[in-house]
Every structure is written in structure tokens, then in C-alpha cells.
């Protein structure tokens, strides 16, 4: 099973990953192989089985609504590709 080129484009858009034109057939083939693997799951009837999201089925811990982290924006922003006046810079979004 191979996906169509249109499906690859749709998935790439969902994943926010640019795919080169000539790489698309290879993705179509490989993703198709993975979907064939997924199809094996159909062999088992799971009617009435509760989905298991987490192995220990624990409930999330809650903590008091208090500030626990202190401001370290200078340290963190040192890692950013582009920063100005304490703000992260990205290409213009609003005209």
C-alpha cells in the first residue's frame, strides 16, 4: 500500500514539516508500509475494552496554585535564535 502524493502533502502540513518535491514518493511508500503495519491491529476485536492511556492508571497530582518558578528569561532567551528587548522575534505575522 502506498499513500497518494496529496495525502503526503496533507500529513506534512499537519506535521508542519516542509517536504521536498522529489522526496514525496519515498514518504508515500514508507508511510504506506507503516499503515500496513497498523492494519494488523484490526485482527483483534476490542469491542468493550477500555482504552489505556497510562500504564499505572493514576490520577494527576494537584499542587497549590502558588508561584514556584522564578523569572529566568535572560538565561532562557540566550538560547533563542532571535531576541530583542526581552522578546522573541519571529517573521511578521500581522500586516
Amino acid at each position: 500500500m502506498s499513500l497518494s502524493i496529496e495525502e503526503v502533502d496533507k500529513i506534512a502540513a499537519l506535521a508542519a514539516i516542509a517536504i521536498e518535491e522529489d522526496a514525496r514518493p519515498a514518504y508515500a511508500r514508507q508511510l504506506g508500509r507503516v499503515l500496513e503495519l497498523f492494519a494488523r491491529m484490526e485482527a483483534v476485536d476490542t469491542e468493550g475494552v477500555e482504552p489505556l492511556a497510562h500504564p499505572l492508571e493514576m490520577t494527576q497530582r494537584l499542587r497549590p496554585d502558588e508561584v514556584t518558578e522564578h523569572d529566568q528569561h535572560e538565561k532562557f532567551q540566550k538560547l533563542a535564535p532571535k531576541v530583542e528587548a526581552g522578546l522573541y522575534l519571529v517573521p511578521q505575522v500581522i500586516e
Binding site: 514539516i17 475494552v49 497510562h54 499505572l56 493514576m58 533563542a80
Partner: protein, 484 residues
């Protein structure tokens, strides 16, 4: 010196036969000499290591040393290390200097272990051969044409080659156990939630679990003592009493019921691997264990279920790499969307892109029930299989992988055939159980791993069984030529 156990190194350090600085220097020299060929480290940190070794020597001098003080360690490069580059073996994080320590790193620092460096791995821990690393593949110290396994292949190779006494790893679908098996060392993946995920770069959060990789069960127990423990910064960390894992290593295992799942000895298992594992089981029987057959009927469905769930979680976890706050950003983006798409295209390798795309697809409208929900239901069936099996036995034994290490490049063109090679390790992650890999022989000159799986929080029992096995055998003491 690099063939000594942690306990032997402790004795030498305490007796002042050697200082931590000398010991650290010894490993740094071995890395310099042997790692250009093995490529098991992404970053070596001699200054940090020697500075920490000096502090360790001071602690030893003043009598405040703990069991691990002064013994060097290497961290898989997905544990963040404050001030030290943390790449996750990805171009995306090539220049990422972590701003904080992972919980595991913090605890191991407190234990006084000098950090030799950060070990190579599959990119974002996605892979079973260590070939997806942006920094090139790691080679298996037993045979440089073989893969070391993955994703913790660098840690496994470094320990096997005597480049570090012990290392940290992480296991999402087998990433501690399979490379430990391929490199002939001992590794344990603890129960999900025992070791904090804080500062462990996320791949699939409901599976990811850190653990020790070592030369023996005793060494692994010592490092697990330092790694395990509650951490409020990890929302799934377990708040439970942590035992001393070394205290029960020598317990008698007679009467222990060991279950052999028939699905783990069926078609696809290499004969040489089967022979070694059966010989190991016979050894456990000699030690007094009772062998029973058990069944894990949904084993075959674990691989497809895992390859839906883990990529689904990955597609969400890796959405954070957008070129805005840290990580790779493409040149001259024409708008915000272009920046996201091209930064991710350039920053991620092929396997990572594939898994993000698969995950995004599995979660997308129209497919969610057929894939994601179905896989979560299978996850419950796989877990229930184990719970049922543990009504008949105390520990499950079987192979870690169907074959020994394959050759570099052998499976890299066919991702699905590589996925299927994880069929004995993945079910354990779906269930969140502890599992370990113990050296059990050689086949065609390459190591075979025996896998032990226990009920939740049975790490002490697994280490006990492995230790007794290692008292009776010497597979774990065999090392590749370059480690002698």
C-alpha cells in the same frame, strides 16, 4: 582499571590506592584513544569531569563520600545538563546548551560522580540501531561492522568498551535493554514513574523511562539507587519508598517461579539466540528456580500498537521545536509558517520526520478511532496479558531481541523491519513494567541478552535474579578485545 566493578573502584578510592582525578583521567584517555572509531560520545567534558573529580577527592579526604563518590559516569545526550551542550543527537539541538539539570543528572551529581560527557544515541531516541544520530552511527565494540543497538547505543558501547564504568540510558520501546543486549552489558528499565522524566527530553511521555546501564547487576543496582526517587516536577513520578537495591542482591532464588512466554520463543527467533537464552534459563533452574510456561497472547499486536501511540505522543511532544525559543531556525523565512516548516525540515532527520508525520496522521480527524483509540485498547490487552501471567509466575524470562546485533546499514532502508525487531521489548513499555537485559552468551561472536520482566516495582527482585545468575556465570565479565 576499566574492568573493575563499582564496588572494587569504591574500595580503591577509599583505600587511596587511586584518586578520583586519576580514575577520571584514565577514562578520558581511553575515550580519546578509542572513541574516534566507536563514536559513542557526542560531547566529551574533560574540564567538567576533572573539576568534579577534584571535589570528589576532597569529599573522600574529609570522609563524606557516598558509595558512588568519585566514580565517573556518562549521560545519554537526552538528559539535560546545565551549561553542557545537550543535543538529543539532532541537528535541531546542535547548539543547545541546557539551562538546567535533569532530575537524574542532579541526583547523580549529588552522589559525587564526575561527568565524562554525553553519549551518542538515535535522534530523539527514535531508532533501534543508533544509525539515526545526526552525529553519525555508533559502532559495536564487539565488532565494528555491527550496530550497537539503540536508542541508547552510545551508552551501551561506552560501557562495553570500558570508556566509562557506568552510564545512564532511557527506554521507550527497548532503548536500554536492546543496546545492552547487543553490547553484552547489563541494563534495567525501571517501572514507569520510578525515575523522574524531568529534564529528559521527551519522545513518548507515557512510555519514556530512564535507567542505568552497567557491567553487572550489582553496578546497575548501585546506580539505580542514585537515580530513582520522587520528583514533584514530573507529573507521573511515583511517590513511593525506594528500597536499597543492593540489599537483596544475594537473596536465595530457590522456589522462584520463572515464566517463559511461549510467544517469545516462536517463529522469527534466531536459533543461536534461542540456545543461549535456554542455557541461561537452565542455569536459573540450577539455582533453584522453577520454570513454568506462560502465555502473552497479544504480543504480536504490541508492535503496531506502539508504533501508533509513541509517534502520536512524539508528534505532540516535538511540536515545541518551531525555531522560536531555541533550536534550529532556517535562514530568511518568508513568513511564520515557512519558518516552522523549513526549520523542522532542516532540523529533523528522516526517521524523526517519519514518526512525527505518522503520529500526526494517527491523531487526525477521521483516523483517531481506527488508530489511536484502537491502539490504546490493545495497550490494555497487552498489559492484562502480563497481569495474568504474573498470577502464575514471579518473573518472566525470554530473549531481549530475536537476533544478535545486525550489520550497519542492514536495516536502515526498511523502517518497518527494524520496528518488528523490537517485538520482545515493546510489550513491557506498553504495560509500564520493569525489564532488564542480562548478558547470556555469544552467538557468531556477538552478545545475546536475556530479558527479565517483573511485576510493577519488582526492580529489586529482577536485580537479585540477575545478580545470582552473574554469580554463577561469567558472561557479564567477558569483554570485547578493545576493552581488555
Amino acid at each position: 582499571m576499566h574492568t573493575l566493578s563499582l564496588t572494587q573502584l569504591r574500595e580503591k578510592l577509599d583505600a587511596r590506592e587511586i584518586s578520583s582525578v586519576e580514575l577520571t583521567q584514565h577514562y578520558l584517555e581511553r575515550i580519546e584513544k578509542l572513541d574516534p572509531e566507536l563514536n559513542s560520545f557526542i560531547t566529551v567534558t574533560p574540564e567538567v569531569a576533572l573539576e568534579m573529580a577534584k571535589m570528589a577527592d576532597a569529599a573522600i579526604a574529609e570522609g563524606s563520600a557516598g558509595p558512588l563518590t568519585g566514580i565517573p559516569v556518562a549521560h545519554k545526550d537526552l538528559f539535560t545538563t546545565d551549561g553542557i551542550r545537550t543535543t538529543c543527537a539532532s541537528r535541531m539541538l546542535d547548539n543547545f546548551i541546557a539551562p538546567y539539570d535533569a532530575h537524574v543528572v542532579e541526583k547523580i551529581k549529588q552522589a559525587g560522580m564526575p561527568i565524562l560527557g554525553k553519549t551518542n544515541m538515535d535522534e530523539f531516541a527514535m531508532g533501534s540501531s543508533n544509525e539515526t544520530s545526526y552525529y553519525g552511527p555508533v559502532r559495536n565494540p564487539w565488532d565494528i561492522n555491527a550496530v550497537p543497538g539503540g536508542s541508547s547505543g552510545g551508552s551501551a558501547a561506552a560501557v562495553a568498551a570500558g570508556l566509562t564504568p557506568v552510564a545512564t540510558g532511557s527506554d521507550t520501546g527497548g532503548s536500554i535493554r536492546q543496546p545492552a543486549g547487543f553490547c553484552g552489558i547489563t541494563g534495567i528499565k525501571p517501572t514507569y514513574g520510578l525515575v523522574s522524566r524531568y529534564g529528559m527530553i521527551a519522545y513518548a511521555s507515557s512510555f519514556d523511562q530512564g535507567g542505568p546501564m552497567a557491567r553487572s547487576a550489582e553496578d546497575a543496582a548501585l546506580l539505580l539507587n542514585a537515580m530513582a526517587g520522587f520528583d514533584r516536577r514530573d507529573s507521573t513520578s511515583i511517590d513511593a519508598e525506594i528500597p536499597d537495591y543492593t540489599a537483596t542482591l544475594n537473596d536465595d532464588i530457590s522456589g522462584l517461579k520463572i515464566g517463559l512466554p511461549k510467544e517469545y520463543f516462536g517463529e522469527g527467533l534466531d536459533e543461536g539466540v534461542a540456545r543461549a537464552v535456554q542455557a541461561a534459563v537452565a542455569e536459573l533452574e540450577k539455582l533453584g528456580a522453577e520454570i513454568v510456561e506462560v502465555s502473552l497472547p497479544n504480543t504480536e499486536l504490541a508492535v503496531p500498537a506502539y508504533y501508533v501511540l509513541a509517534p502520536a505522543e512524539a508528534s505532540s511532544n516535538l511540536a515545541r521545536y518551531d525555531g522560536v525559543r531555541y533550536g534550529h531556525r532556517c535562514e530568511n523565512p518568508k513568513d511564520l509558517k515557512d519558518m516552522y516548516r523549513r526549520s523542522r525540515a532542516e532540523g529533523f532527520g528522516e526517521e524523526v520526520k517519519r514518526r512525527i508525520m505518522v503520529g500526526a496522521y494517527a491523531l487526525s480527524a477521521g483516523y483517531y478511532d481506527a488508530y489511536y483509540l484502537k491502539a490504546q485498547k490493545l495497550r490494555r490487552l497487552v498489559r492484562d496479558d502480563f497481569l495474568k501471567a504474573f498470577e502464575q509466575c514471579d518473573v518472566i524470562a525470554g530473549p531481549v531481541a530475536p537476533t544478535v546485533a545486525w550489520n550497519l546499514g542492514e536495516k536502515s532502508d526498511d523502517p518497518v523491519s527494524m520496528y518488528l525487531a523490537d517485538l520482545y521489548t515493546i510489550p513491557v513499555n506498553l504495560a509500564g513494567l520493569p525489564g532488564m537485559s542480562v548478558p547470556a552468551g555469544l552467538h557468531n561472536g556477538r552478545p545475546v541478552g536475556l530479558q527479565l520482566v517483573g511485576p510493577y516495582f519488582s526492580e529489586a527482585k529482577l536485580l537479585n535474579v540477575a545478580h545470582r545468575f552473574q554469580q554463577a556465570t561469567d558472561w557479564h565479565r567477558q569483554s570485547p578485545e578493545l576493552a581488555k
